[in-house]
C-alpha cells in the first residue's frame, strides 16, 4: 500500500461541524476500502490565490492516507460529486518526512533565517 496525500478545498460557507462531518465521511470511505488515514490536518479558512467559482476563500483540509490505489480514484469521484468542494488534489508522498506537521501549521513569523531567498537579479 502506498501513501497518498490529498488536499481538498471546501466551500467557505461550511461550518466547523460540517467540515468535521465531511472529514469523518471520507475517513469512513478510506477505512471501508481497507486503507487508513495517517494524518489529518485542518488548515482552516485561507484566502485563495485566485478566485475559484467566485469564492475568494476556502477551507483547506489535508489528509495523509495509506491506501490502495483504487481508493484514490474513489475519493476523486466523491470529491467531484460534492458541489461544495472547490478543488481537490491527491499526490503520492515521496518521503516519510511528511508525517510531521506540514509547513502550513508552522506559526507565521517563524521560518527563521530567510533560508532560501533567491539571488538578486543582476
Amino acid at each position: 500500500m502506498l501513501q497518498y496525500e490529498t488536499v481538498f478545498i471546501a466551500d467557505p460557507t461550511y461550518t466547523d461541524e460540517e467540515v468535521d462531518e465531511l472529514i469523518k465521511g471520507y475517513e469512513q470511505v478510506v477505512t471501508a476500502a481497507g486503507g487508513k488515514s495517517v494524518k489529518i490536518e485542518k488548515w482552516g479558512k485561507r484566502r485563495l490565490a485566485y478566485s475559484i467559482r467566485h469564492h475568494e476563500e476556502g477551507i483547506y483540509v489535508l489528509m495523509t492516507l495509506e491506501c490502495p490505489a483504487t481508493l484514490v480514484k474513489e475519493l476523486d469521484r466523491r470529491f467531484r460529486m460534492n458541489d461544495r468542494i472547490l478543488r481537490h488534489m491527491a499526490v503520492r508522498v515521496e518521503s516519510e518526512l511528511q508525517l510531521g506537521p506540514s509547513p502550513m501549521m508552522r506559526p507565521r513569523p517563524e521560518r527563521d533565517e530567510q533560508l532560501l531567498e533567491p539571488p538578486m537579479m543582476p
Binding site: V7, R46, M104, L115, L116
Partner: protein, 94 residues
C-alpha cells in the same frame, strides 16, 4: 549621453560586446541554494519558500538567474505547479 547608453542598452551594440564580457569576469559564482542547504524534498505546501521563487509576476524564477541546479529546479517546478492548482500561490499576478 554616453553614460546613459552604458546603463541602458544591454548587448545592443556589437562593438561593446567585449566590454560587456569583461564586466562578468569577476561575477560571484552562482550556486544552488537547495544543494547548499541539503534540502532533498521540496514541499508544495511550503508557500513561503515557493513564493521566494515566484517573484512579482508569479513566474517561476529561471535557473539561469537563480542558479538552482537542474535536479532541484525540476522539483521546485513540480512543487510550484502543485501549489498553483491548490490556489496557494497565483498563476499570474496583475
Amino acid at each position: 549621453m554616453r553614460e546613459s547608453r552604458e546603463s541602458g542598452g544591454r548587448g545592443q551594440d556589437r562593438g561593446r560586446k567585449k566590454q560587456y564580457k569583461k564586466k562578468f569576469l569577476f561575477r560571484k559564482k552562482k550556486f544552488c541554494k537547495f544543494c547548499d542547504e541539503k534540502i532533498k524534498f521540496i514541499d508544495y505546501k511550503d508557500v513561503r519558500l515557493l513564493q521566494a521563487f515566484t517573484p512579482e509576476r508569479a513566474k517561476i524564477f529561471p535557473r539561469r538567474i537563480a542558479g538552482t541546479c537542474s535536479k532541484h529546479q525540476r522539483k521546485l517546478m513540480q512543487a510550484i505547479k502543485r501549489a498553483r492548482i491548490l490556489a496557494l500561490i497565483p498563476f499570474t499576478s496583475d
